[in-house]
């Protein structure tokens, strides 16, 4: 038996960070795999929809139920074990373990409570000269690993380490009909576009969609499909529509001491020119590059002056027009590498005098603090201008494009927004050509304009070979972009796979594709 309770209309299980609210009947909180499977089986037999929730930190409504029950995995949390294979060390985790918790366990180097997945793995990991960490930094460190895998999360460090997908070794997935599969990367591969695998007493075999998932840019738009694909990749980024992740192995990486840097430039244009050079410079070799435009800096200046929550944000110098934030690994040849940074900075109106730098934790934290103060400042700002529309005060983009299209996309953003007369700030993962454009909405009219501009951005991103959802996923909120990227045909093909695995369409209904009955 498992815990099952009616959901009240103000329940936290009906919403996530997107602030979208849904409707649901019950919340089911399984404590282990067998309870989870039992719950799925019972709901499947009744044809009762279930929506899976973890830490509910998503921003696209992926865990928000539209009907039926919520399965919250909150009690299935914890690091189970340590293993090692030819690629390196990995850890075995339950789905609702947070990224913070994973890194805390790794940092503690006390694995006595864990099991050895491979022989002596714990001992070997402790004996390593450097600590290890889970390198995908989705910014929200309180999100669950299961949620991260389900939407193929990425973040600033994707610049060096790639998205979540690259770190998934093995998954245990409960399928919509109640069976489970336990698959490692390499276990099952599609034969051309034909995917076949056994699950319990069933055997699935179907044609995968005909599109090729765009891996050339940071991309979280829908499930991955391509010729000869690995079965595990079908579940990573599928937002729960094909199955529920109940256990995972993820690789970890050795940690290196880093130095954080912020370079200030007089103007946004100069700053963006510098990005192009920094990105391709082998000597600088940044871990990530984050951008803060002049509007962001001005907003932070205004808000930090009055907001006590911004207590540790370093005071911005007056000359700071625009800023780049990047980490570098601390090596013996820092002077030579910084000489390269200096050349690049000076070509574009900056200099090493007009910068910040720090390798001690306290300084690095404070630079991160500055970067994180931007979304916070936006939040404070929109709260202070009483918009006409309760609930919606801003709209944020999440689009990536290939390197060669970066300039075009950036100028398209400002052209369109300026033409529409909207107020906005731009900041974020410029290293991956994936800045967040946050549009501030002051009226209903702004809202309509922003919607129109947003749609044009998505179209432009796709046209330039990019993704309209680079890291947040599709969920329920961005579903319309699926057709934009994959065409009606692609969407229909995803639907077909969904109906083979989940004939009663019970699982995570409304995520990625709408299934009409």
């Amino acid at each position: 038996m498992f815990y099952r309770q009616r959901i009240r209309s103000d329940s936290k299980y009906l919403t996530d960070e997107s602030k979208m609210t849904g409707r649901g009947e019950h919340v089911i909180i399984p404590v282990d795999d067998s309870e989870l499977r039992e719950a799925v089986r019972i709901n499947n037999s009744k044809g009762n929809p279930i929506t899976v929730a973890g830490m509910r930190t998503g921003v696209c409504g992926g865990c928000v139920p539209l009907e039926g029950d919520v399965i919250s995995l909150e009690r299935m949390s914890g690091v189970l074990g340590v293993g090692r294979d030819e690629r390196g060390y990995f850890i075995r985790v339950l789905p609702c373990t947070t990224i913070d918790e994973i890194n805390r366990v790794l940092r503690s180097r006390d694995f006595s409570q864990l099991e050895d997945v491979t022989e002596d793995a714990r001992e070997q990991l402790v004996a390593e000269p450097v600590p290890y960490f889970y390198p995908v930094d989705p910014t929200e460190m309180n999100g669950s690993i299961g949620g991260n895998i389900a939407c193929n999360a990425s973040g600033p460090r994707t610049y060096r380490y790639g998205p979540t997908r690259d770190w998934v070794r093995r998954l245990r997935v409960v399928l919509p009909e109640g069976q489970y599969i336990d698959i490692k990367r390499g276990d099952y591969r599609a034969d051309g576009r034909r995917m076949s695998f056994p699950a319990g007493r069933s055997f699935y075999s179907f044609d995968i969609p005909s599109y090729d998932f765009n891996t050339g840019v940071k991309n979280a738009a829908g499930p991955m499909f391509h010729e000869g694909m690995d079965l595990i990749d079908m579940f990573v980024g599928s937002e729960g529509i094909f199955g529920i992740i109940s256990e995972a192995d993820v690789y970890v990486a050795p940690w290196h001491p880093l130095v954080s840097n912020i370079l200030f430039f007089p103007t946004d244009a100069q700053c963006l020119e510098a990005v192009r050079e920094l990105r391709t410079d082998n000597a600088v070799d940044p871990e990530f590059i984050e951008y803060m435009d002049s509007r962001s800096l001005d907003l932070v200046r205004r808000v930090t002056a009055s907001d006590p929550a911004m207590i540790r944000v370093p005071r911005l110098p007056e000359y700071a027009g625009s800023a780049l934030f990047f980490d570098m690994q601390l090596t013996d040849d820092m002077p030579a590498r910084y000489a390269r940074v200096s050349e690049i900075a000076e070509r574009h109106g900056g200099s090493l005098d007009r910068s910040w730098c720090g390798h001690e934790a306290c300084d690095r934290d404070r630079m991160r603090e500055l970067r994180h103060s931007i979304p916070r400042s936006i939040f404070e700002y929109v709260a202070s201008i009483k918009g006409e529309m309760p609930g919606i005060h801003k709209m944020g983009t999440d689009m990536s494009v290939p390197d060669e299209a970066a300039d075009e996309m950036m100028s398209y953003y400002s052209e369109q927004l300026d033409a529409a007369g909207l107020e906005y700030v731009v900041f974020g993962h410029i290293g991956n050509n994936h800045p967040h454009v946050e549009i501030i909405l002051k009226s209903m009219e702004d809202f309509d304009k922003a919607n129109e501009v947003y749609r044009r951005f998505a179209e432009k991103a796709v046209e330039l070979g990019g993704s309209p959802s680079a890291e947040h996923g599709i969920g329920k909120i961005k579903r319309e972009y699926m057709a934009m990227v994959y065409g009606e045909k692609g969407v229909e093909e995803i639907r077909r796979v969904k109906m083979i695995l989940d004939p009663k369409n019970i699982l995570c209904r409304g995520n990625i594709v709408e299934v009409l009955r």
């Binding site: 130095v259 207590i311 540790r312 910084y338 200099s351 005098d353 910040w356």
Partner: protein, 258 residues
Amino acid sequence: MRFAVAVKQVPDTMEMSVDENGSLVRAGVPAILNPYDEYALSKVLGMRGEGDEVVVFTMGPPQARQALTRCLEMGADRAYLLTDRDFAGADVWATARTLTAFIMRFVPDADLYVFGRQAIDGDTGQVPFEVAAQLGVQQFAYVESLSSSEDGFTAVQDYGDVSMTCRVPRGSVVSFGAVDPNGTLFSISDYLSAGSKTVEEVDRVSIGLGLYSVGLRGSMTKIVSTKTSSGARRNRKVEITDPAKGAGFIISELEAMR
């Protein structure tokens, strides 16, 4: 002009905890530059003009070099590390005596001797004024702002109930009263220039003090015993639905205290 800034390396007391047995957990607690000293140094660096020199010094074990390196990265020009086994166990008096002897030998001509308000591990804040007395110079405590003019400096001191503005003669001791949480960070240029600066080690003999003038032997106080503070929090959590009951809890704690 020349400024001499005294700093200290301290364990990050915010990271310190007490284990189940009540003993202090020091392992893994990072050593940092005392935040009050960092603030004082940043104030001095902020008023440094062309040709001015900022000298930092600390007394501590060899690892305290790290704190000095940070000072150099922040922009200080020279650093001295007063390190000697004989310095160990010094109380306020012995510390002040050692620092004073150092000052008289190595930076006797500084225009200002600058300190932070207190160290976060000892919280005494007494050393600056003992040094001032031993140097026989004026002292300026709780300084909020400091400006320089041709004939010296002007300090604004915050005594809580009064704010006092004084002219500071050259050679005085100044202790800053605060920290600035929004303070700025050092630049890549500063960081790189620290690479060419050196930390000079100074031992007891080179400041000319006898074995019984420094460290534990030179101290005027001694620790008779230490125990872990009841600061190890019991951390009992109670969910309160009835405010009256919650208020009752607190009131009974207040009464128990009497």
